[in-house]
């Protein structure tokens, strides 16, 4: 089962802030088109595989709990 994340105990200062912009020089030769296309296909297939995993119930319960809290507040 998922553990309670530590994130809830931290400050929320980074939400909505714009991170510092740093620059890097683009100096890298491009891949041959066939290799780039193959790599793109594999990356998308990998990602699609991850996204096909069922969403853990705990995530849905978090959102449902919010709805419950709000409707309880609305009833007052």
């Amino acid at each position: 089962m998922l553990t309670t994340p530590k994130v809830t105990q931290r400050k929320l200062g980074d939400v909505g802030e714009r991170p510092v912009v740093r620059s890097e020089l683009p100096r890298q030769p491009a891949l041959p088109p066939g290799v780039a296309a193959c790599l793109g296909d594999r990356l998308r297939a990998y990602y699609a595989h991850l996204m096909n995993d069922p969403v853990p119930d705990s995530f849905i319960r978090i959102l449902e709990a919010r709805d419950g809290t709000r409707s309880a507040n609305d009833d007052r």
């Binding site: 998922l2 994340p5 929320l12 890298q28 290799v35 990998y46």
Partner: protein, 183 residues
């Protein structure tokens, strides 16, 4: 109420993508799920900061990414070892990969720097625009393109899609030495 439902639906829709992004960044499914859970909680707690009309998904990606970097910095301080964080990323790979058919890609992504990995995954796998990726990653367009270019090149090497350029000169030197030795 309609707005609430649409916000909730937008958050629900974003979960599979958040999870895939978190797994790709961390290489650790358990930690990735903790990250997503924390992201949802932080998103809910800070909904007043979300600007209606903007992308909920991009906003949640930014929260998740910020939390990931906060965790990484904390771990670096705790371990006091520059390679510790990467070692930890790699250490969880074998047991997690049993649950994935794409363990080779996951292992290759873990070899990239986190900055390159997140840029590549966002644009090439997730499908967000370069501009949006730059915004999520807090950098500029040129840097994002550079990181993606480097990440693609490195990933292609790691997945044996192209010959590893590092091997080239060594082979040449070895061949030259062999030629001289045989004379």
């Amino acid at each position: 109420m309609t707005a609430d439902l649409s916000v909730r639906q937008a958050m629900l829709d974003a979960i599979p993508r958040l999870r895939a992004f978190a797994i790709s960044l961390s290489g650790n499914i358990t930690y990735a799920d903790d990250l997503v859970q924390g992201t949802l909680l932080r998103g809910l707690e800070n909904l007043d900061k979300f600007q209606p009309g903007t992308s909920m998904q991009a906003w949640l990606f930014t929260i998740l990414r910020n939390q990931f970097y906060t965790d990484m910095r904390r771990r670096r301080r705790e371990v006091e070892d520059a390679d510790g964080a990467m070692a930890e990323r790699l250490a969880v790979m074998p047991e997690q990969s049993a649950r994935l058919d794409f363990s080779d890609m996951l292992a290759a992504l873990a070899e990239l720097s986190i900055e390159q990995c997140e840029a590549l995954v966002l644009v090439a796998a997730e499908g967000v625009s370069y501009e949006e990726a730059a915004q999520i990653c807090g950098t500029n367009l040129g840097t994002i393109k550079s990181r993606i270019n480097r990440a693609r090149t490195r990933l292609a090497e790691l997945l044996d899609l192209v010959p590893n350029e590092d091997i080239g000169p060594d082979r040449l030197v070895r061949a030259t030495l062999l030629m001289h030795a045989s004379m």
